[in-house]
């Protein structure tokens, strides 16, 4: 039976990780994510899992990569400064195709910034913070209930596509408490990575079938192969032949494209005849929805699109929306319009993209967004 409980965002992530089957969590204390590691430190041993507090965030992500390479589902939780430190090994995990889950409760940056204030400033860092080019999936929950569900989705996608998955929350979502409905744990589909490796004699770790996803048995589980962050061919050993470099980088970066439909999730509310749309993600989507309701009461129709998956970016859905409306408002808690830029790129001029920034460390308010809608409707923006 499902149950209704009062839960904090961070708590939802920790509880759901256990349901998803996390067996190793390594972390380093950092506000506003710390409740996740505190809860997992307490709960994991009784669920057959181990928690460790490492010496820093570099070590934390290193430990979860090791644990996952040895076959166990593993996660860490952090915020901006820690996430910056993790970039080196985030790129490594993507390169060697070891699945891990990172929860990043975004806080005001740059640098130490503000530990207890929200921001949506890590969108680009999530995808591009590590050197070179490598794949990621990033999910943006906008409610505590969704944080719970998407944590399970994060583990599933990570295992299915052998890729690091980042849950991008923010301070507001991390610390808000909401009444949520949790389904029975066994009602969730739990996906585990493939284990159908060919026999050792024929086995090559990075020789993929038509799924494009490698089968990597647990290290120490009977298969003797090498995992390396250096450019590698099918054998997994260093190889800098031009064709090997090309195929290694191309394959890891393209493998998710094949699965766009399975990975990219959006929430969409469309109304007939709307000329304005708002694209919002994460906790920001909540006041946006209220603002759209306020506009509706005053006779202004506004469409709504919420990327639940932010990486890969839902460019098809955004383009589709742009073909219908004239203007797309993108409110977000960062100064440069990190997602507004992606929207502009996706719409290819089909609609005007209007950026609305708020970086005061306060969440966006419905009234502020409503005010923007009025201005756009009057043609002032």
């Amino acid at each position: 039976m499902s149950k209704k409980v009062l839960m904090q965002g961070n708590q939802a992530v920790a509880e759901a990780a256990i349901v998803a089957g996390v067996k190793v969590c390594a972390g380093y204390p950092i506000t506003p994510s710390t409740e996740v590691v505190e809860l997992l430190a307490r709960k994991m041993p009784s669920h057959g899992g181990r928690f460790i507090q490492m010496e820093d965030e570099i070590a934390s992500i290193g430990a979860i990569i090791g644990a996952s390479a040895a076959g166990k589902k593993a996660m860490t939780a952090t915020s901006g400064p820690g996430f910056s430190l993790m970039q080196e090994l985030l790129g490594y995990a993507a390169m060697v195709e070891i699945p891990i889950v990172i929860y990043n409760a975004q806080r005001v940056g740059p640098s130490t910034g503000g530990a207890t204030k929200p921001q949506q400033g890590d969108i680009m860092q999530t995808k591009w913070g590590s050197h070179g080019e490598s794949p990621r999936i990033a999910l943006c929950p906008s409610s505590v209930e969704e944080a719970y569900k998407l944590t399970i989705t994060a583990f599933n996608l990570s295992e299915k596509y052998m890729v690091p998955v980042v849950i991008l929350g923010d301070e507001t979502l991390a610390h808000i408490r909401e009444s949520i409905t949790i389904p029975e744990p066994d009602s969730f589909e739990i996906i585990n990575r493939r284990t159908d490796a060919v026999p050792q004699e024929e086995y090559l770790p990075y020789k993929v079938d038509d799924t494009c996803i490698p089968v990597l048995p647990p290290l120490g589980g009977g298969y003797r192969y090498n995992i390396s962050g250096m450019i590698h061919g099918d054998k997994g050993v260093p190889n800098l032949a031009p064709d090997v470099i090309d195929s290694c980088i191309t394959r890891i970066n393209n493998k998710l494209k094949k699965y766009y439909g399975d990975i990219v999730m959006v929430e969409k509310i469309e109304k007939k005849g709307s000329k304005i749309a708002i694209l919002a993600y994460g906790s920001t989507a909540r006041p946006v929805k209220s603002a759209i309701e306020m506009a509706k009461k005053n006779g202004i129709k506004v469409d709504f699109l919420r990327p639940i998956t932010i990486w890969p970016f839902p460019e098809r859905e955004v383009k589709e929306m742009a073909s219908k409306v004239d203007k797309i408002l993108v409110p977000e808690m960062n100064i440069e319009g990190q997602v507004a830029g992606l929207v502009k790129q996706s719409v290819e001029g089909a609609a005007e993209v209007i950026q609305f920034s708020k970086v005061s460390g306060l969440p966006l308010y419905a009234e502020e967004i409503y005010h923007q809608i009025i201005k756009i409707n009057r043609g002032e923006k």
Partner: protein, 271 residues
């Protein structure tokens, strides 16, 4: 065909090491120690990172993982947390273990997690072309110390002892039988064990320091180390340029994962 061939990824040869490099001697001593211990090749995991030493385990036919520079011990810690039944050996160079990975080394030792760290000390960053290492002795030349090294060298054995490693030993590639025995003891020790293996780098270190003949370099390494017993009769001045070899620390201390499982009443049933 040698009886040790089964431990090699023969298809990866020829190897990349320069002629006269001592790293292979240390690696071979480790392989012989593993063979003598009769460890299961499938459940002995090699972890390494970057640098000349860091690349060597790729030539070995064990499950292996090569991490970014300095991070080998963090990944090894995770492997052990996921599956404590595995034997995990981490092969590193002095820059890898002592500089970029220094913090991880301290904390792995402090936890006394059951890993073996084998650290090849050659005083130089060979792979990148001869820059100084945290172990470079005063006055020695490196491409980034063209006027001579002025930083005091790091004594990794003393560092890990202070941090809490329960087995610490130092050997050298001249006394290869002794080195193998030290490695054997380290690998069979429960807890965090460290073996420093003094080796030579003729190409990057020797060439700059007017001693690039491998046999001469090895002779110098031979003279650099003394036993604990010899040290007792040496004066303070005489000891200054000597390193003590042999087992430096061997004690029983609670191992991290055993302690964790005990205190948390770890439930293996549901794992």
């Amino acid at each position: 065909m040698s009886k040790l061939d089964k431990y090699l990824r023969l298809d990866q040869f020829p190897h990349f090491a320069c002629s006269g490099c001592g790293h292979g001697v240390a690696l071979a001593a480790m392989v012989r120690a593993i063979d003598k211990l009769g460890l299961d090749q499938n459940t002995t995991v090699m972890v390494c990172a970057i640098g000349c030493a860091g690349r060597l385990p790729v030539y070995l036919n064990f499950p292996s993982i090569r991490t970014p520079h300095g991070r080998a011990l963090t990944v090894a810690t995770g492997i052990k947390l996921a599956n404590p039944e595995l034997k995990v050996i981490v092969f590193m160079g002095d820059g890898d273990a002592g500089a970029i990975g220094g913090n991880h080394l301290i904390h792995a030792a402090r936890r006394n997690i059951d890993l073996t760290a084998i650290i090849a000390i050659n005083e130089i960053y060979g792979m990148t072309g001869g820059q100084y290492a945290p172990t470079t002795q005063p006055g020695h030349l490196a491409s980034t110390a063209p006027f001579g090294m002025i930083e005091p060298p790091m004594d990794i054995c003393k560092l890990v002892e202070a941090a809490g490693a329960s087995f610490v030993a130092r050997g050298d590639i001249y006394r290869v039988v002794e080195l193998e025995k030290l490695m054997l003891k380290a690998i069979s020790h429960k807890g965090f064990s460290v073996v420093e293996a003094l080796t030579n780098c003729p190409t990057q270190f020797g060439r700059r320091n007017k001693n690039s003949k491998p046999s001469e370099m090895i002779k110098k390494i031979k003279e650099m180390t003394i036993t604990k017993k010899q040290a007792e009769v040496f004066s303070k001045e005489e000891l200054e340029h000597k390193l003590i070899r042999g087992i430096l620390v061997e004690k029983e201390r609670p191992e991290y994962i055993e302690e964790y499982d005990r205190i948390t009443n770890f439930n293996k049933e549901v794992s």
